[in-house]
């Protein structure tokens, strides 16, 4: 029986663990090692160069531009997305006209809104990026045509072509594609808050804003916090890579104004043939990710509320 048990455990774990080790763990370990080498990625020959890559990185202006943008992403994007999502979710669940017999109620058509808001979540970020690239097009795009139609002929921004505007255009796409997910997530969380709490607050004469900050937000805090971490990791990783690579000129342009760390890693490794240096930038990205996640968990630590 014991013997059979261990044979069973090994038999069940061996294939998933082997796949995971070969395609995920091993490359991660290797990439840390390669960050100390001058490996080009094209030939199998390389030598260990110590901290040379890291020194080079410190003096690389494109790296710092990408770094700054990634930091802006990770600090700003989650806040915007979570704020909009919390607001919309609160309106959906608590913002309804007060009915007889219920202290709080959702607005009419709340299920419909939730379905619509979720649309972007099921689409590929690549498709979303392509679509918005056309919307932003200064000559034939829908946005500038709309501005002309409402009489703003003089306001015809270059959108993605304008270095001071491009980064915000890209961020807007990520906001557009992510808010719906969090609205639905927070709605589910709000639905599990007992109605008695709202009744008690209303009896005490609390306004909607007070109700939100004193009841909804504290009781939803765990969900908000995990959403925050999730959104941060996402805005540093694959999603920021996809939107920047697809939408921006260069990509990463104009003039490095939109480059982010995940795209810069890709460019160094697969465009410039500097795989060793690319992994160095990847390590910097890893550090930013871990610092962010650690920071959120630290700042957000509160007494867990049981209800």
């Amino acid at each position: 029986m014991q013997h059979g048990k261990y044979r069973f455990i090994v038999g069940f774990l061996i294939v998933p663990l082997a796949l995971y080790a070969i395609f995920v763990i091993w490359p991660f370990v290797q990439s840390i090692f390669y960050s100390f080498t001058n490996w080009s990625g094209l030939s199998p020959n390389f030598s260990v160069t110590g901290l040379d890559n890291y020194q080079r990185m410190i003096h690389d202006s494109t790296f710092w531009a990408s770094f700054r943008h990634s930091v802006i992403y990770v600090l700003v994007l989650p806040l915007i997305v979570l704020a909009i999502a919390l607001f919309l979710a609160f309106m959906l669940n608590v913002g309804g006209r007060r009915k007889r017999g219920a202290a709080v109620s959702g607005v009419q058509g709340a299920p419909f809104y939730k379905i619509v808001y979720f649309f972007p979540q099921v689409l590929s970020i690549a498709i979303v990026a392509l679509l918005f690239q056309f919307l932003y097009n200064p000559e034939s795009g829908a946005l500038n045509a709309f501005l002309s139609a409402v009489g703003l002929d003089s306001v015809q921004p270059e959108w993605l072509g304008d270095p001071s505007l491009a980064l915000w255009c890209v961020m807007a796409v990520l906001v557009w594609s992510q808010v719906g997910f969090f609205v639905v997530l927070f709605s589910a969380g709000m639905a599990s808050i007992p109605k008695d709490f709202y009744e008690a607050a209303l009896l005490d004469g609390a306004s909607r804003a007070t109700t939100f900050f004193r009841i909804t937000l504290p009781l939803l805090w765990d969900t908000v916090q995990s959403g925050w971490v999730y959104m941060g990791i996402l805005s540093l990783g694959a999603e920021s890579f996809a939107v920047t690579q697809i939408m921006t000129a260069g990509p990463g342009g104009p003039a490095d104004s939109t480059n982010v760390l995940s795209l810069y890693v890709y460019q160094k490794a697969f465009r410039d043939g500097q795989a060793g240096y690319a992994t160095t930038i990847g390590v910097a990205l890893l550090i930013v990710t871990l610092l962010f996640a650690g920071g959120v968990l630290r700042v957000g630590r509160r007494e867990r509320l049981e209800f």
Binding site: F8, F12, F87, M91, Y117, F119, S124, S140, G189
Partner: protein, 307 residues
């Protein structure tokens, strides 16, 4: 929570769940008024966001029926007549049919593999005590927070050495490996919630561990498998980063990647209408599937974050 002993007798005539009615008449009307303003405001914001979500999608659908001239000169005008030939051109000449087929093959195989291997590993980790259990579990879930792009540089060369680069089966194995962390995390906690007595009964009746797993535990875990299956289906169907780096063979391209290819190569062909048709073609199946299965999709995508 009943407070029947506190209110004075007259309050009994007022419905206990109508807090605003208990206030003075002036306060009640004021309350109603601010409620009304807030209601208009909140509903207004909900409508604005819904329009922001739907407008770009509808615009894409409309544009896919226009000819190139109409797309470039007047982005918001309706098509002069429905150019269905855009769709047929995108389907056959622009290789959308090939991209669809590749995506279906890759996602079908990797989804099956992910669920099978993920549930095997999760079951063993959730139900059996053995040395290294916790270590393997944390090894798996650690993969959720690391930036994938960091591992991609060495992974490219790992696949090249295994002659898996630019192959469909190589891509499938990579999809499975990168889907395992969340799948194992989710299913481990799911298997822990299932009652142990049924499996014990099966063992006492002489079933092997393997048979117990496939014939007793897997059917019991069906709701969890559906949730995590939907999550992985969307993630793998919409995957852009992994195929962009690891699968550059034009014959093996998947949907999101193929569309971006189409968009970058249409620079010289100028086939905007075909591109929009392709874009909408890629959007519609997922949106349709979402609308049909929306309850399950929402549950599947938010279940992980709520844990």
């Amino acid at each position: 929570m009943k407070t029947t002993d506190t209110p004075p007798p007259p309050a009994e005539t007022v419905p206990p769940r109508m807090p605003s009615a208990a206030a003075t008449p002036t306060a009640a009307t004021r309350d109603k008024k601010t409620g009304g303003v807030l209601n208009v405001f909140s509903h207004g914001m909900l409508v604005v966001w819904a329009v922001l979500v739907v407008a770009p999608l509808l615009w894409a659908v409309m544009t896919s029926f226009k000819d190139d001239h109409g797309i470039l000169t007047s982005p918001w005008s309706l098509p002069n007549h429905l150019h269905f030939e855009n769709w047929s051109r995108a389907w056959s000449q622009a290789h959308m049919s090939d991209y669809f087929l590749n995506t279906v093959i890759v996602v079908a195989c990797s989804l099956f593999g992910t669920l099978l291997l993920g549930s095997m590993a999760a079951y063993v980790l959730a139900r059996f005590e053995f040395p290294g259990n916790r270590f393997i579990y944390f090894l798996f879930i650690g993969g959720m927070s690391f930036p994938v792009i960091l591992a991609l540089v060495p992974l490219f060369y790992v696949l090249q050495n295994l002659t898996l680069l630019n192959t469909i089966h190589g891509l499938i194995l990579v999809y499975i490996a990168y889907s395992l962390p969340f799948t194992v995390f989710f299913l481990t906690s799911f298997f822990r919630t299932l009652p142990t007595s049924v499996a014990e009964a099966a063992i006492i009746d002489g079933a092997s561990h393997t048979r117990t797993f496939f014939q007793v535990m897997l059917p019991m875990a069906k709701p969890g498998l559906i949730s995590v299956g939907i999550f992985n289906f969307l993630g793998q169907w919409n995957q852009y980063l992994l195929p962009t780096v690891l699968n550059t063979n034009p014959d093996h391209k998947v949907l999101s990647q193929g569309l971006v290819e189409l968009a970058t190569s249409q620079g010289y062909k100028g086939d905007y209408s075909g591109l929009f048709a392709g874009l909408v073609m890629a959007m519609l199946p997922v949106l349709a599937a979402y609308i049909i299965f929306q309850r399950q999709v929402v549950a599947g995508l938010t279940a992980g974050a709520l844990k």
